[in-house]
Amino acid sequence: MLQFALWRIAGLWWTLFAASLVIFIVIEVLPGDPAQVMLGMSGDAQSLGALREQLGLNAPVAQRYLTWATGMLHGDFGVSYTYSVPVADLLRERLTVSLPLAAIALALATVLGLPLGVLAARFRGRLSEAGLMAGLQVGVALPNFWLALLLIYVFSISLRWLPAGGFAGWEKGLWAGLSSLLLPAVALALPQAAILARIMRSALLDVMHEDYIRTARAKGLSRQATLWRHGVRNAMIPVLTVLGLQFSFLIAGAVIIESVFYLPGLGRLVFQAISQRDLITVKSTVMLLVTATVLVAFFVDLAYAAIDPRLRKAPR
């Protein structure tokens, strides 16, 4: 198990390194002159030169990358061009919104999706399954931001139960904060739950065809006990892989959903930074989001190995 963890940690660093390189190249090398991009049409020669100086663009590319990467390792993400505050401060502030949002959405998706998947597999071939499957099919096809608009229309505009957008802040109490995150989290979670349920169902149906399920039944285990002790547990292996990937979609979805609800999260930050051509903020925020995705994939891999003893070896 330790071997496996060490191996995966090595992979984790490799991915983070490659990702930072990709981000750096796309932002700083591809456009030619990032300073020109940031100033747009309005830039005169003098301010262009000043900005180049500020961004350290006169240094060679390799050195610029190293400065940025080592800076991040020390918690230094640069200074935002538009806000003139350290990006690290911005990120910390925005994380108080994005992190709870992602956590609630992931929890909701799992709590809803997995049991629904088990149910669908249990009721295979019955009418209730057909209904459930139809619902899941629609759920998978729902764009989350459209679902968000519908939720706003129903719960905020028509029923006036929950705020339509904005974030009250955690200072005003837990409920005030939660109430502004509830609709966004539901909008994010529902399509993901549908995807998870479908994967759980098909993984479970696959597993229930295995020989060891027949062995369990031959030992006298009831249908129910076999399903839970041998079926669901073994089906979790393929489900976990997907769960890791889901987080990547969740982050992507959060960027859009935060825009729909005007939530001051990371997604909104990076989106605004684009429209303000604040490349420093874009670069570091995207890096943070990528890191989050990679970390989640890493922990999912560890969980994977904890469940499946066949994986607790270092690969060749």
Partner: protein
């Protein structure tokens, strides 16, 4: 009184009856052998005894356990009976065990499901069970997983699961078919001992008459879902009534015709291997280490003369398939020399390599996996003619394909059909036709009849013997099945752990084996005649 009784039990999938009017009974302490070829419905009958038929299958008739009707019983009653009163051992121990639960957990699960036990009592009983089936009774062993065990050890675990609650009826469905002969002998002995000691009733299902004769007190022969004949073992074998049983017996004893003219071995060998070496990297234990190596083929030397039929026997993992692939040029040896027609195939490139490859073709084991399902039989058989690209025209290609099909006893029309339209035996004929189409001097046959039913196997062996005589092809015949090798080869090599431990003319090796491994192998093979002779001596 019968402990388990099938009465006119029929099993249907939709409207097709797969088992018809099955009537069998088992008494305490008795082993009933159920023998039949694939598709005869014997496995379904076993599943019916546990009321575990696949979804969508229906049954009629009656199945009684100690007088209690089971075919109408609901799941609650069956859950109490399964594992506790009636247990089952499956064919494929790897897939029968849950890969992500330790074997200890799986045994404990059974015990705790049926008995009220404390954790300590459970563990003590589980350890005793491990010892009972000949495994190491330690906590460490309990924590192992199926993938960490050998095939024989896995089957012992499956047996431990089945006997955990001391059931009265045990059902074993081809329990040794997936195992090597030496392991098979051990598992059969273990089963026999357990059944005798616990006075269990055993329903033993197999396709192998010799194994059945060894294990069963009574035998029932099944064909196409019906029992054609049953009776006490010795009586059934000695006074066989039904045509099908007789045919089955004849096929399993079948020997293809011997050579018509004696083989003259010339000075220059067709194929010569000299100290061939081939090893593989195993998965690393620690990722900073060098990967450990497994030596699959170790210093193997071998000669095959023109028209000679050479057998290579050994158990799984002994390196015989790696050797076959090296001979075929599919894998490069790491050391040693190989020469075919006085040339080293690995030193040749392009046209000359293709030229040499024409002389050596192969027939593989699996008649289902050896064809591209999207190619017609004609295209499949013609594939090796790629080696003659540019040398023969379309008409010649057609002629060769049809000739190959005819020589293996298939009609010319077969060329237009797809492989899935043919039975297993017919597919193996197609595979042989494909090997013949380049008119090779040597055919490497890797377990060519292992996946086939006995009656089909007899036909394919006849065909191979016929090709040997008629076309003068040399064979390298690889098999784990000694009787097959004995039947068809002139010369035999016995392989163990990557080395050839004994070789010689087939007759000599089989009648007077010298190496201990060869003796072990020969003694482990269940022999029908010997078993029956031993039974005659004791009178039943």
């Amino acid at each position: 009184m019968a402990i388990l009784r099938f009465e006119n039990l029929s099993i249907f999938n939709g409207t097709t009856a797969l088992v018809r009017d099955l009537s069998l009974s088992l008494v305490r302490g008795e082993t009933l052998g159920l023998v039949g070829e694939s598709g005869s419905g014997k496995s379904l009958s076993a599943l019916a005894a546990l009321q575990l038929l696949p979804e969508g299958f229906a049954q009629s008739g009656s199945l009684r356990y100690r007088g209690q009707e089971l075919s109408q019983a609901d799941d609650r009653i069956m859950n109490r009976l399964r594992g506790r009163h009636i247990s089952m051992i499956f064919q494929e121990p790897m897939s029968a065990l849950n890969p992500i639960k330790s074997i200890g957990d799986q045994i404990l699960e059974t015990l705790h499901w049926h008995f009220k036990l404390t954790k300590k009592e459970g563990r003590a009983r589980a350890l005793k069970l491990l010892a009972r089936v000949g495994l190491t009774p330690t906590a460490e062993y309990m924590g192992r997983f199926a993938h960490q065990l050998s095939g024989g050890q896995r089957q012992r675990v499956v047996i431990a699961l089945a006997i955990a609650c001391k059931p009265r009826v045990l059902i074993a469905d081809e329990p040794t078919t997936a195992l090597d002969v030496t392991v098979q002998a051990q598992i059969l002995a273990l089963l026999k001992e357990i059944v005798k000691r616990e006075r269990m009733a055993l329903l033993f299902i197999s396709h192998d008459l010799a194994v059945i004769a060894q294990m069963a007190d009574r035998v029932a022969v099944m064909k196409d879902g019906e029992i054609v004949e049953q009776g006490p073992t010795l009586q059934l074998f000695d006074t066989m009534q039904h045509a099908y049983s007789k045919q089955l017996l004849a096929a399993s004893k079948h020997m293809p015709p011997k050579r018509t003219k004696p083989l003259v071995i010339g000075d220059t060998p067709l194929l010569q291997l000299h100290k061939l070496q081939r090893s593989y990297a195993l998965p690393k234990q620690k990722f900073w280490q060098q990967a450990p190596q497994k030596i699959a083929v170790n210093q193997v030397s071998l000669r095959i003369a023109a028209q000679q039929s050479v057998g290579l026997v050994g158990e799984s993992g002994c390196g015989k398939s790696t050797l076959a692939r090296t001979v075929l040029g599919l894998e490069t040896p790491q050391a040693g020399r190989i020469s075919f027609l006085q040339q080293d195939p690995f030193s040749l490139r392009g046209q000359r390599r293709r030229q040499l490859q024409r002389g050596i073709q192969a027939v593989f084991q699996d008649p289902y996996g050896s064809f591209n399902p999207r190619h017609t039989v004609g295209r499949t058989v013609a594939e090796p003619l790629y080696l003659l690209a540019g040398q023969i025209n379309g008409a010649e290609r057609r002629r060769r394909v049809l000739e190959a099909l005819t020589s293996v006893g298939l009609p010319e029309t077969a060329a237009q059909h797809y492989p899935h339209e043919f039975s297993g035996g017919q597919r193996q004929r197609i595979a042989i036709a494909r090997a013949l189409v380049t008119q090779p001097q040597l055919i490497v046959a890797d377990e060519p009849v292992s996946a086939l039913d006995v009656s089909v196997r007899a036909q394919i062996l006849d065909l191979l013997a016929d090709l040997r005589d008629r076309l003068g092809v040399a064979f390298l015949f690889i098999s784990h099945d000694l009787s097959v090798v004995r039947a068809i080869t002139d010369y035999v090599c016995v392989m163990n752990a990557g080395r050839i431990v004994e070789e010689g003319p087939t007759q000599d090796v089989f009648s007077a084996p010298r190496h201990p491994y060869t003796r072990l192998l020969l003694s482990a093979v269940p022999d029908l005649e010997e078993t029956l002779a031993a039974r005659r001596k004791v009178g039943h």
